[in-house]
Symmetry: C2
Subunit: 159 residues, 2 copies
């Protein structure tokens, strides 16, 4: 099987004041600064409320990219799973994919809420969210529902 | 702004008998053949019903990647929009993102339904679909709703 290499140039970068764990808060507001000459490629994006951001997790090392199995969120009480069965950043191509809310468009800068990417992260592409991107009755594993339940309970406690 | 290049190696390839327009049918069944040594990275994927496939649209030329504006689906009666406001394959980094149904997992081969990628397309990553990937009340533009309405009417006629 041919495994020729693919070369990409970022279309822009993430700008955020969030650091460390703050980056994962759903309320975090960030900017995506596109290369200036791409401003016109954003025309019309303002009519969508949500976008998928496709980004490159550039802090992941060459060694980490060789990871085959992980416990979800590092939790040893969770099953040991293949990286493709999780959203871990440790994967052969550390591409991030996050659904964000679009708050503002100004020339080559998008302001978005909910992007879990560090300051300086290269952005590869964005995709406007539409109704082909979702499914009403999706199945997720038991471990996923358990982690999600814990997360929402923790959120209630902190409110 | 630094625009250092990013290099990726495909994790696998699409195998499909669909050609031309068939590729866009939601009922199209394809295989994703992962590199053999990545088989264990798929462990646990079978507990998800749906996945996002992130792929590289390798038929798009260097010139086509410079496209800034398009009419959605080439329709001149639709507004002229920035490529990022559409899902056109003509974009700076021709990355495809499609939600598919997972039908079968056999070692390093996933069988999926609804992947609009040609035979031989390099796959960059897959992401299991979970409830963070969707939003209940998303806004889409008027032109999107119009195209979608036409599509569903056409589908009804052909049934």
């Amino acid at each position: 099987m041919a495994t020729e290499k693919i070369t990409l140039t970022p279309v822009g970068f993430v700008k955020t004041k969030a650091v460390g764990r703050e980056v994962r808060h759903r309320s975090t507001v960030s900017e995506i600064i596109f290369r200036g000459k791409l401003a016109e490629a954003l025309d019309g994006i303002e009519d969508f409320s949500h976008l998928f951001v496709v980004f490159w997790m550039n802090k992941i090392s060459k060694e980490e990219r060789k990871t085959m199995k992980v416990h979800p969120r590092g939790r040893k009480d969770m099953p040991l799973l293949g990286v493709f069965a999780t959203r871990t950043p440790f994967r052969p191509n550390p591409i991030g994919l996050t659904l964000v809310e679009l708050l503002k468009v100004e020339r080559n800068v998008l302001t978005v809420r909910g992007l879990d990417a560090f300051d300086g992260t290269p952005v590869l592409d964005i995709k406007p969210f539409d109704y082909w991107d979702t499914v009403e009755a999706a199945t997720v594993p038991e471990w996923w529902r358990k982690l999600e339940k814990e997360r929402s309970e923790k959120r209630e406690l902190s409110e």
